[in-house]
């Protein structure tokens, strides 16, 4: 590993599903000589692409877990995180983006900026990730890179500037014109390995000149020197242009656009040059840690190898040889055999094996410097933990983790499966913070919850394949919530005299809606009507009541519990008695506080040919959807709507049949909102019935 951070790039490859990013990664690994043969995603050779290491990923042709890999291009060491394209797996994308310095946003030259590209771009903006756009699949029928550039500007508000134009399109794609060098570039020989530079074809010269002007105009905004050179109308040094592009890209004010076709082996080497020239090295990016010992004051990490280690565990995998922890180092060094401290637990752990990951193969290394992405073996930690060396106690900024919105009940098919399910769930929960599991004590069912149907589907498949655990799966259930809508008083006395010492506690006060947050307890007791030692008992009792609403048994959110009165008995009052009194008081107040049921509302975007717009809108409307709007661009339409998650189960099948398979949709959680009266009554009825059984 090269020690100079100038020669390191930590990049991600993100895009909409089916834009060809796994194929692109495969080509990158091939040209950087990390692999010696190209396997297609759905290839006939049955090998699958290198980055799709999980069996399931290979079968479905989608990337589920982002595998980290490492390669070298010219003088540069590149760590690549391949990220999933489906919206259900966005936590993977977000975690990858958190540790990356730059990214390639892959776009399909036919599909253009699709819904997932918008989600991914929003995530990149959130984490300030400079990006290069790569318009892939220029060999496909209907390829239109110019349209994609327009969409980058209009839909993503990116200052997208083409650095290349294609030579031919669709089946005539021959190569690209590099607008910086003003040379035609062809990719010849076996698998496009040999690059031939030539004069720009006469037919393209005018277009190339015009596009170069456009590019220089945009890029010169970032370099006074370049602007002066342009005004002098002499030859403009290539280095000056590249420097300006790099400056614009790093400031997130410019998105250079490159074109090609990964499948046809065209344009990939130039994209790698682009990664080298325009994407940041670790020292170009400012990363902030929180100093735990100093009231979480923000501190800029130094990137200096000589400083104490700061590293973030951003991904875990349970493998055959124990837990594999993917780590990004921000400063200092991590060495085999050294002790490092997990700042969350305060525990010191010894670094056993240190490896550099290449999909599911690994390479043992002795040490890793600042800015590197590596994996540790046998280090016990959770995803998002920070490791420090020396005497510092820092934590990298916490990651944005969305709450699960859908759950499923699973039941083992046999006894053997029972043990394996526990092991599997343990591992999945540790690896993926958006995946949760728990046992419903009333029904005895194991409940898993996550970000969408496909998300849970994948874990059920993994249980089957990796843990040999066959499970019966219940119907998907929406994660409802309950809350209150008005203030209500309570005054409850818990009294029990059943021989021996009795129980006595009286709690008075009120509940009121809490605008932000889940639960708040306020102690307004004056004059000692409840002794101090029992105040926390009241808090415990109220807090426990929040777990299960009285309408449907769903968790309660947004309640402030205020106590301002009470009573006690010198002998019979106890911690338990006041916990019970608080539970009774909560019940009393809750019924009077006009409780409501809330459901997750999803932001849904359906894309498809304009001819199906009416059908798409109709299908959304039937599902209690509010159509926010439609965007129509030529033959293509995007319908945006907000729908209850409960109405979206099975929608993909319906959409396929409505649109001859030509439309697709993505959805993400938007907010919790009150369910309509009719639905609420039905849910309450179902809950009552389930309690009786």
């Amino acid at each position: 590993m090269n020690k100079d951070l100038k020669f390191v790039r930590n990049i991600g490859i993100s895009a909409h599903i089916d834009s060809g990013k796994t194929t692109l990664t495969e080509r990158i690994l091939f040209y950087t000589q990390r692999i010696h043969a190209i396997h297609e995603v759905r290839g006939k050779d049955g090998v699958g692409a290198t980055m799709d290491s999980m069996e399931l990923e290979r079968e479905r042709g989608i990337t589920i877990q982002s595998a980290a890999t490492y390669c070298s291009w010219k003088d540069i060491d590149i760590n690549i995180i391949d990220t999933p394209g489906h919206v259900d797996f966005t936590v993977e994308v977000e975690r990858a983006l958190r540790v990356l310095d730059g990214a390639i946003l892959v776009l399909c030259s036919v599909g253009g900026v699709q819904s997932q590209s918008i989600t991914v771009d929003r995530q990149m903006t959130r984490y300030n990730v400079p990006r290069i756009a790569f318009i892939n699949k220029c060999d496909r029928t209907g390829a239109n890179p110019e349209r994609v550039v327009r969409q980058l500007r209009e839909k993503l508000n990116l200052n997208a500037v083409m650095l290349q134009i294609p030579i031919g399109l669709e089946s005539d794609l021959e190569g690209v014109v590099d607008l910086v060098t003003m040379k035609a570039v062809y990719f010849e020989g076996e698998q496009g390995r040999d690059i031939r530079y030539d004069e720009i074809p006469a037919a393209l010269l005018d277009q190339a000149k015009a596009k170069r002007e456009e590019m220089l105009d945009a890029v010169s905004m970032f370099s006074d020197e370049l602007m002066e050179a342009m005004l002098e109308e002499g030859d403009i040094p290539e280095a000056l242009i590249r420097e300006a592009i790099r400056k614009g890209t790093l400031s997130l004010k410019l998105a250079p656009v490159m074109v090609g076709s990964a499948y046809k082996n065209k344009g990939i080497q130039l994209l790698l040059d682009g990664v080298e020239k325009y994407l940041p090295c670790p020292t170009d990016v400012e990363n902030i840690a929180l100093d735990i010992d100093n009231n979480e004051a923000e501190i800029k990490v130094s990137n200096n190898t000589a400083d104490p280690l700061v590293a973030l565990a951003f991904k875990l995998e349970d493998g055959r040889y124990g837990q594999l922890t993917y780590v990004r180092t921000y400063q200092g060094e991590v060495k085999k055999g050294e002790f490092i401290t997990n700042t969350r637990t305060g525990k010191k752990v010894k670094v056993g094996r240190l490896v550099r990951m290449h999909a599911n193969e690994m390479e043992e290394i002795e040490e890793a410097g600042s800015g590197d992405i590596i994996a540790l073996f046998g280090v016990e930690c959770a995803s998002g933990d920070t490791f420090c060396g020396g005497n510092i106690n820092w934590s990298m900024t916490s990651m944005h983790i969305p709450a699960p919105v859908i759950s499923l009940a699973i039941k083992p098919k046999d006894n053997k499966a029972q043990d394996n399910i526990s092991k599997a769930l343990n591992r999945f929960c540790k690896e993926d913070p958006t995946f949760k599991s728990f046992v419903d004590h009333e029904t005895g069912e194991t409940i898993i919850s996550g970000m969408g149907e496909l998300h849970l589907d994948v874990y059920i498949e993994r249980m089957k394949r990796e843990y040999k655990a066959e499970v019966e799966v219940g119907a998907p259930r929406v994660a409802y919530r309950e809350t209150i809508t008005q203030r209500a008083e309570f005054d409850y006395t818990h009294k029990k005299q059943t021989g021996g010492s009795g129980q006595f506690g009286r709690v008075g006060g009120y509940l009121e809606p809490l605008e932000e947050g889940v639960y708040e307890f306020v102690d307004d007791i004056v004059g000692g009507s409840i002794p101090r030692e029992f105040i926390s008992s009241c808090d415990k009792g109220f807090s426990a009541s929040m777990d299960k609403g009285l309408l449907t048994g769903a968790p309660i959110t947004g309640v402030r519990c205020v106590i301002n009165d009470g009573g006690y008995h010198t002998v019979d009052s106890s911690d338990m008695a006041f916990q019970q009194a608080a539970k009774g008081a909560f019940k009393e107040g809750y019924r009077k506080a006009s409780p409501i049921i809330m459901e997750p509302i999803m932001k849904v975007a359906v894309e498809g040919p304009s001819e199906f717009q009416g059908a798409i809108m109709g299908s959304l409307n039937q599902r209690r959807g509010v159509i926010v709007g439609t965007s129509e661009e030529g033959a293509y339409t995007v319908v945006e709507a907000e729908l209850p998650l409960g109405e979206m189960f099975g929608y993909s099948t319906i959409l396929r049949s409505l649109t001859q398979g030509k439309a697709e949709f993505s959805m993400e959680f938007s907010a919790y909102k009150q369910v309509p009266k009719g639905v609420a009554e039905q849910l309450i009825k179902e809950y009552e019935a389930s309690k009786k059984n």
């Binding site: 209009e154 809108m617 409307n621 509010v626 926010v628 709007g629 439609t630 129509e632 030529g634």
Partner: protein, 231 residues
């Protein structure tokens, strides 16, 4: 609805929006003076009166159009707070639909197809349609009249916006500037936003299909883009 005070306080009542059902209105101004802001306020006023609005944005994207509504609604709520702003925001969301088109993708037949999609499937039945960004330089009287007939047959009040240009001095006899000077008879009401040194004034050029007399006494507040009555 419970938002009567907001409707009553709205200076836009001068435009007599409730009395113009099935008619077409036009907002004209030079670029950047606040045509979209005014259209959105007309749409919001219509919504607050319990009606539904289809906002057609030509050449603009969905997010930007949504943002106009969010911003204008926030400005209105800051001036006239209501007890439950979330309910009002929800109500606006449910009574408004936005359709965006690329310039080349919008024409009368596409409009009719989309309106039929919405109305016949009972997806969204608008009472008012605002069309922002329509290119009047690329249309003629017959085409526009055709759109007017369509909207009248569907009993829809329609508001357009049009950009006038400093260097084009043509005007209709009723004072409607180019590029709409030849279409003024198709509009029941035409409002021109005029920029003065420290304010923007709403001048009513046509009212009830005739040349308007006198001043509207309305201004656009340059800070919030809200319509205000002159003191």
């Amino acid at each position: 609805m419970g938002y009567e005070p907001l409707v009553k306080q709205n200076p836009l009542r001068v435009l007599k929006l409730t009395g113009n059902d099935k008619k077409m209105g036009l907002i004209m101004a030079r670029a950047g003076l606040g045509k979209t802001a005014l259209l959105v306020q007309i749409a919001l006023d219509t919504i607050l009166r319990g009606n539904r609005v289809l906002h057609i944005s030509i050449g603009e994207n969905l997010d930007k159009t949504k943002l106009w509504y969010d911003d204008m609604l926030q400005a209105i709520l800051q001036e006239c707070p209501v007890a439950k702003p979330h309910e009002l925001i929800d109500m606006v969301r449910q009574h408004r639909m936005i359709m965006t088109f690329k310039e080349a993708a919008f024409d009368r037949s596409r409009l009719e197809e989309r309106l039929n999609d919405l109305i016949q499937q009972n997806i969204f039945t608008p009472d008012c349609v605002v069309i922002d960004g329509f290119d009047f330089t690329a249309t003629d009287h017959a085409k526009l009249e055709d759109i007017k007939n369509l909207m009248e047959s569907l009993r829809l009040q329609t508001w357009f916006s049009a950009t006038s240009h400093r260097d084009d001095t043509r005007v209709s006899p009723t004072g409607v500037p180019a590029p709409c000077h030849e279409f003024d008879d198709l509009f029941e009401i035409v409002v021109l936003l005029k920029s003065y040194q420290d304010h923007i004034e709403l001048e009513i050029l046509r009212d009830s299909g005739k040349k308007a007399e006198g001043s509207s006494h309305l201004r656009l507040d340059p800070a919030t883009m809200l319509v205000r009555q002159e003191d």
